[in-house]
Symmetry: C2
Subunit: 210 residues, 2 copies
């Protein structure tokens, strides 16, 4: 199980500083939507240049204009880009094709996707699927107790990422879904001791996999 | 009926140059998603500074992290921000509240919204509704002949914007829906003679309203 460090709501310099600190405990780097929208595509380029050996996920949340956004991100150094599962299928398929051309990949963000759409999306066998409780739902509406991934059971044969308020306390709950990637943001980036938080998270996963 | 000039897939300098040329024929300026994602929030700030008297729509396409994205855009000078109709309702409501606090507004992008969701969204009486055929659908899947806005009839009492490949040839088709705003991008920005294209579009609307 990999840890994808989500970098959000901070400057690019701060993102680099934090990533350097916890670099040996995390596996993938996510340039968050807020960094891309606030600072533009150069946030991807800048971060990839500092960490060329770490897979980089550009959380561009494509919902239209797929070819253009794929080109921007992949040329800036992204290994994986995100596309919204609620986008028109032609948009998702364009992202898949653009990624395949470059031997890169896409992550389909399942935010607010209904059952009917989910059953269509699982046909995209090469994609990574991201079961996602949004920041707004975490902070404003859905309690952590209500946060269930049970509906994503049908993705069991797919490459799965899980995101949304994940901390060391939620790892046990996530384990049965066997995700390839857990996406962790504030549990590391907002921790008083970020290195300790990342190390403990990494250890809890290693222990789990024994 | 207002013309909202959508500025996409170009540099900020080019966007300013084109807007200056056609300024007297257009009513609202849209800083397109591609400008925001490529160059960041400063694209909004820079364009608003050059055209302080024109309403500015930031096509940020918020789908999560609503408060943060609203703050970025409104502080950069946006008068209206876009939020996806396919977003969780808590995200849309947060955008509405953030806009109301500042006496600004939001535009709900109806891209890929189904009937059930549309009926929920129309309860947001203060919002502008944008009936939208995406770039990807225009360019890759839906023919212009298939492009129908009939399902948006239920929005008749709401403030409506219409977007998606609009040109002087499609104005007549749009007229019965009585939109407050038509969103025009490439029909002006990609025209060989941009000033002529904008003038003719403006004239066709004035004539229509006689």
């Amino acid at each position: 199980m990999y840890i994808q460090l989500a970098l959000d709501r901070m400057t690019v310099d701060k993102a680099i500083k934090i990533t350097k600190e916890v670099n040996c405990y995390i596996d993938w780097i996510e340039v968050g939507t807020s960094l891309i929208k606030e600072f533009g595509i150069k946030s991807i380029y800048t971060i990839k240049n500092v960490f060329p050996d770490k897979p980089l996920v550009a959380d561009i949340k494509t919902i239209d204009n797929a070819k253009y956004e794929c080109e921007l991100c992949f040329e800036a150094g992204a290994d994986i880009i995100t596309v919204m599962g609620v986008a028109p299928l032609v948009t998702i398929e364009t992202c898949l094709n653009e990624a395949a051309k470059r031997k890169r990949n896409i992550m389909i963000d399942l935010l607010n996707v209904n059952e009917t759409t989910l059953r269509k999306l699982i046909e995209y066998k090469d994609a990574i699927f991201c079961a996602h409780l949004s920041k707004d739902e975490q902070e404003l509406s859905v309690s952590k107790a209500e946060h269930s991934f049970d509906r994503f059971n049908i993705l069991e044969d797919r490459t799965l990422a899980i995101a949304g308020g994940i901390s060391i306390d939620s790892i046990e709950k996530i384990k049965p879904f066997n995700p390839l990637i857990i996406i962790v943001g504030s549990a590391i980036t907002q921790a008083a001791d970020k290195v300790k938080a990342a190390r403990e998270l990494k250890q809890s996963i290693l222990f789990m996999e024994d």
